[in-house]
């Protein structure tokens, strides 16, 4: 394997002249992204990203076991191709370093929430029915703004499966992904990573809830209405016997909730939020990430074995996310830079509707956090403002808030469009499959659920709020 990687990297350097010649028309183009200026990559280097997306989409369907044995190698290999290009051709270390830093933050949050939630067992003692399911999903949507979509997904997916076990069908899990893992978390910077990045750049904490709430409400209500229509036609009734004298909800391992609190507090332990927090630069992580990984270890070490067993705790789902997203984060660097460049070039033509749809479309398949930042940067560029200046961001928030609303909603909501649109989607899918639920393939998810259900909702939101 090492030999193969070495060979591919070597071939890349040998053909350097060829690539340089091809990239000549663009070498003069510079782009400012993530606070530094770098040379614009050649469009061909987006290929590893497209290949990775194609593999993620087709692997589990057409060559499942090859994919399961090799996805980590393929993901890293494709990531290395991009890294080699940036190091070898562009002499750009900053872009890669920036992406690695964001990846570590991303995986630290996901890992700590995944492990902390694995040590908590929620037992529900009520029958699943359309109304109780709707209330459960609504509760999850609200709670995802307090503990993040990842935390809420990890904590609630097991009880949701358990209460529906007698009437389980894939749509139940799909709507869980739509509502709790994505749309729900659009109200606070804790809810979803792109909003947190906005907060770090200077968007006030309560701006989101003050400005996005009506859109969130319509999005959630529409998704719940669709869910109710699906669920009411599910003729299988829950014959789960509720035990008299028992609480409706029973929580085991509640001491681990303290770990959740620590993780949420840790989110804010960042030099950009609190000036007293030391920066560990040039290391690609900070105190926040150290705290999160420490919580993950402490939570696992002190976990009740019976709870781990009941939750069938396994590192595989988080391992899968960690490996796939390391490839995604690295290979998407050129895609994001090219998008940012093009959107700035054509920013005069970009309306709130284009920002809504393009942020959304790209957030469906790219990580929504950097997509949000690049489109925010483009939108601010339209008005001659700089995303790297907090004062400019604050001005933009007040004067041209409709663009920020469009970008925020697009980034968070559209993450539900595919399994790879948001980190928790994949983990929910994995946990469900381990419970014996046959989940739809990548394409079936899009064709059967995302397009017919989510697209009309998103179109309605566009019509009501971002038509201009």
């Amino acid at each position: 394997m090492v030999k193969k990687v070495f060979f591919i990297v070597l071939m890349f350097f040998v053909s350097r002249n060829l690539f340089a010649a091809e990239s000549k028309p663009l070498v003069d183009s510079l782009i400012t992204s993530g606070g530094h200026t770098s040379q614009l990559p050649h469009p061909i280097i987006v290929l590893p990203f497209l290949v990775l997306l194609l593999l993620i989409a087709t692997g589990p369907i057409f060559y499942k076991h090859f994919w399961e044995r090799n996805y980590h190698k393929l993901s890293i290999l494709l990531g290395l191709v991009t890294v080699s290009y940036y190091f070898g051709f562009l002499n750009d270390f900053k872009s890669v370093e920036h992406s690695i830093t964001e990846y570590i933050s991303f995986i630290a949050l996901l890992t700590s929430l995944f492990i902390a939630s694995g040590s908590i067992l929620i037992k529900v003692n009520f029958k699943a029915a359309p109304v109780s399911n709707v209330l459960f999903l609504l509760f999850g949507a609200v709670i995802s703004n307090l503990i993040g979509t990842t935390g809420a997904s990890m904590l609630l997916i097991r009880p949701f499966i358990k209460m529906n076990r007698e009437r389980m069908k894939p749509y139940l899990i799909i709507f869980f992904i739509f509502i709790i893992s994505n749309i729900g978390g659009a109200l606070t910077p804790i809810g979803d990573p792109p909003l947190f990045l906005g907060f770090l750049r200077g968007v006030p904490f309560f701006w989101v809830i003050e400005n996005v709430f009506p859109i969130w409400l319509i999005g959630i209500l529409c998704a719940l209405l669709f869910f109710f229509l699906f669920d009411i036609s599910n003729k299988k009734t829950a014959d789960t016997v509720t035990e008299k004298g028992k609480h409706l909800v029973e929580l085991k391992g509640s001491k681990n909730l303290i770990y959740f609190v620590v993780i949420i507090i840790a989110v804010f332990i960042d030099p950009k939020v609190m000036s007293w927090v030391p920066s560990l630069s040039p290391l690609p992580f900070g105190i926040r990430e150290i705290l999160m990984f420490s919580v993950a270890i402490a939570s696992f070490k002190t976990a009740d074995l019976e709870i781990l067993k009941a939750n069938e705790f396994d590192f595989e789902p988080i391992k899968e996310v960690a490996y796939l997203f390391v490839g995604i984060f690295l290979t998407m660097i050129p895609a994001l830079q090219l998008i940012a460049f093009e959107s700035r070039v054509y920013s005069h033509y970009l309306t709130q509707a284009t920002f809504y749809w393009s942020t959304g479309a790209l957030s469906s398949v790219l990580d929504n956090a950097p997509t949000y930042l690049n489109f925010l940067s483009a939108a601010m560029g339209k008005f001659g403002l700089d995303i790297n200046l907090a004062a400019d961001v604050k001005h933009f928030v007040v004067v041209d808030d409709v663009y920020l609303r469009a970008i925020s909603v697009g980034a968070v909501f559209f993450g539900a469009m595919t399994y790879i649109g948001n980190g928790p989607n994949f983990m929910v899918k994995s946990i469900s499959e381990r419970a014996g639920i046959e989940m739809p393939s990548f394409f079936t998810y899009i064709v059967k659920y995302s397009l017919p259900i989510l697209l009309p909702i998103f179109a309605l939101i566009w019509f009501l709020f971002f038509r201009g």
Binding site: M168, N311, E312, D314, G436, E438
Partner: protein, 123 residues
């Protein structure tokens, strides 16, 4: 060698065994569904690519063909889940469908438990 029923195995806490990708279950049964990691196996025919079933007079052999070693993939908290019907019982009677969880333990032992309500397991 004694032939056990599933009830006897669970009641007397009789363990199975595992070696590499092979699991030996100390009873005989008809399998309906096996869940190992995120693989849901329902094809138990000879051409099945996921599992090979070998029935002996006193026990059952399961070969997980897509796995080299089970202990490398399955954590000690994770279960291999099986829906089965005791040999001789009516497979079409839903009440005879039983759900068991297998846990890999030390010294190649496989502990066999009937799943409780805590385990996520959809038939």
């Amino acid at each position: 060698m004694t032939v056990y029923t599933l009830d006897e195995v669970i009641k007397n806490k009789i363990n199975g065994l595992y070696y590499g990708n092979r699991i030996l279950l100390p009873f005989k049964a008809q399998l309906l569904k096996v869940i190992i990691e995120s693989d849901i196996i329902t094809d138990f025919s000879r051409s099945s690519k996921g599992i090979q079933l070998v029935e002996h007079q006193e026990y059952l052999d399961l070969y997980f063909l897509e796995y080299k070693g089970l202990s490398e993939s399955i954590s000690k908290y994770e279960a291999i889940k099986i829906v089965l019907v005791d040999e001789g019982k009516n497979i079409f009677d839903w009440n005879n469908h039983r759900k068991i969880a297998l846990y890999l333990a030390e010294k190649h032992k496989v502990t066999i438990e009937e799943t409780d309500a805590d385990i996520l397991f959809i038939e």
